[in-house]
């Protein structure tokens, strides 16, 4: 296995690490994997997950690239004032072009967490070199900084959050809140959340279905595009990600993704995990899921049916 720090991109200001098999093990039959970090996390990924993932995938024979978007980690800043949603996709495409030129790979799997998942998804939509995407905690991030959608769904999600709080809280936690900690602020906060949630759900039922259906239609159209290209989507969600669950249930359902395409969209839940996958056991589980999924992609690449479909 080899690891190399590189500079790439139009201005040579983007920094990334290529992890790959040694030259004797190299095969360009497999797609390369690109890892997109969430938020302002740099190329090691949350809790250094991407370092482990890259090294494990390289041991399986894949070339893996993890890099910093402009203004994050070790990369320089952009001077063209392009909005982040656009520049992130462009830079991901530059990463693919870099690997095409230097590692002779022409197909890619994108893996992203949170906003990284959103970038992966939007890049997959506009670039035919992407054959698959593993999207972790993606639902809320699929369509970037859409404030109208974000505000709307957040409001709809409050009741789900409130009920979940009640169900997941242990009796002793409530006793502690009331008796020991006298945390009336938190109790009132939870109750207000529930009340507001009920109001927003009513608002949703009465007035907002039309607005919601616009997003569902967009998602349906986008999934159709990916399905027709044979792009595989694998979504991984966290059990305690209440807001994400609300987005997921709205956007991804039988209407948006036809039954016959089920094989190319799969969803898995990391049980007991929060949105940030903060616990080590959740990170281990996530790593295992991703490695299994990528192993599946490799087997697919090797199947004659896949080669036939791609050449049609």
């Amino acid at each position: 296995m080899k690891e190399e720090a590189v500079l790439f991109g139009q201005t040579g200001s983007l920094v990334g690490i290529v992890t790959g098999p040694s030259e004797t093990e190299t095969t360009n039959r497999f797609p390369a994997v690109i890892l997109l970090s969430p938020g302002r996390v740099h190329h090691v990924g949350p809790y250094r997950l991407y370092v482990r993932l890259a090294r494990n995938l390289a041991a399986m024979g894949l070339t893996v690239f993890r890099f910093d978007l402009s203004g994050i980690g070790d990369s320089g800043i952009r001077t063209d004032h392009l909005p982040f949603d656009q520049s992130a996709v462009i830079e991901t495409q530059e990463a693919m072009s870099y690997l095409q030129a230097t590692r002779k790979v022409d197909r890619f799997i994108l893996i992203g967490i949170c906003s990284g998942a959103g970038i992966s998804y939007r890049t997959a939509l506009c670039d035919s070199r992407v054959m698959g995407a593993v999207l972790i905690s993606a639902s809320i991030n699929l369509y970037g900084n859409d404030d109208v959608l974000s505000n709307y769904i957040e409001r709809c999600g409050k009741i789900r959050y409130g009920w979940r709080l009640l169900r997941s809280s242990r009796i002793e936690d409530w006793v502690r809140l009331v008796v020991e900690r006298l945390d009336f602020k938190k109790i009132i906060q939870i109750c207000m959340t529930m009340v507001i949630g009920v109001w927003y759900q009513m608002e949703r039922l009465l007035w907002n279905r039309k607005r919601e259906s616009a997003y569902i239609n967009k998602c349906e159209a986008d999934f159709r595009v990916l399905n027709e290209r044979g792009v595989h989507l694998f979504l991984i969600n966290s059990e305690n990600d209440f807001l994400g669950a609300e987005y997921h249930n709205m956007l991804i359902n039988k209407q948006t993704y036809p039954m016959e395409a089920e094989a190319e969209l799969q969803v898995e839940l990391v049980k007991g995990s929060d949105y940030n996958l903060s616990l080590n056991k959740n990170q281990e589980h996530l790593l295992k899921i991703i490695l299994n999924r990528i192993q599946g992609f490799i087997e697919l690449c090797q199947s004659p049916f896949h080669h036939q479909r791609n050449s049609e």
Partner: protein, 234 residues
Amino acid sequence: MVLCYPMGYEYMQSHRSYRRIADRLAGEGYPVLRFDFYGCGDSDGDMDQGHISQWRKDIETAVDQIKKKSEVSRVCLVGFRLGGTLSIMHGSSHGNIDRIILLDPVINGKNYLGELADIHESLLSDSHLTPGPRPKNQLPSEVQGFPLTDVMITDLMNIDLLGTVQKPADNILIIKSGADLAKGNFVEHLETMGVRLSHLFSDSGLWKDRQAGEILVPVKVLEVMASWMSEVYP
């Protein structure tokens, strides 16, 4: 200049800051090396393999590297939090460090572990997470997604910079961001050892409620670092 990162989530929070500091100091003409400790960042090893004695050797390697590559004889260490602590420990044990810049160094490892345990409990509560069973009063085995091994806990328990005997460097700049440096009178302790101290208090509350990559050292702090360095290396 050798930049020593903090550990765990503080590493994630401050990574971009270190790049800015490196850029600024390199722009002033100083050769700068920043590196990841063993088991951290892009370096080799798994996170649960990192421990203090290994990291102290890593600083030694980094100091040797920058001296060789840049043909310098004098080295300044820069460290936030545990990175600052390790810088002090290295300077004290090796006597080969000219200057040290510290930002909120960890003075007492036991207190630091207590802080980490509190942060971890908060995280569990806010995220409605249910970790495995743990006896009361036992320290957690992970904090904010990073493992806390028994070896690391023992190492941290043994850290007390007030027990430093040898002078870590002739000149030290301490930057305090609201974290409580006053406990144990670390500043007075350094002065009794004959260290020439400079202080800066930046009340920006750098660490509280900040996500990964969000900590950015204020421009004023960068300017003070640069001008403090230029006092001795004009």
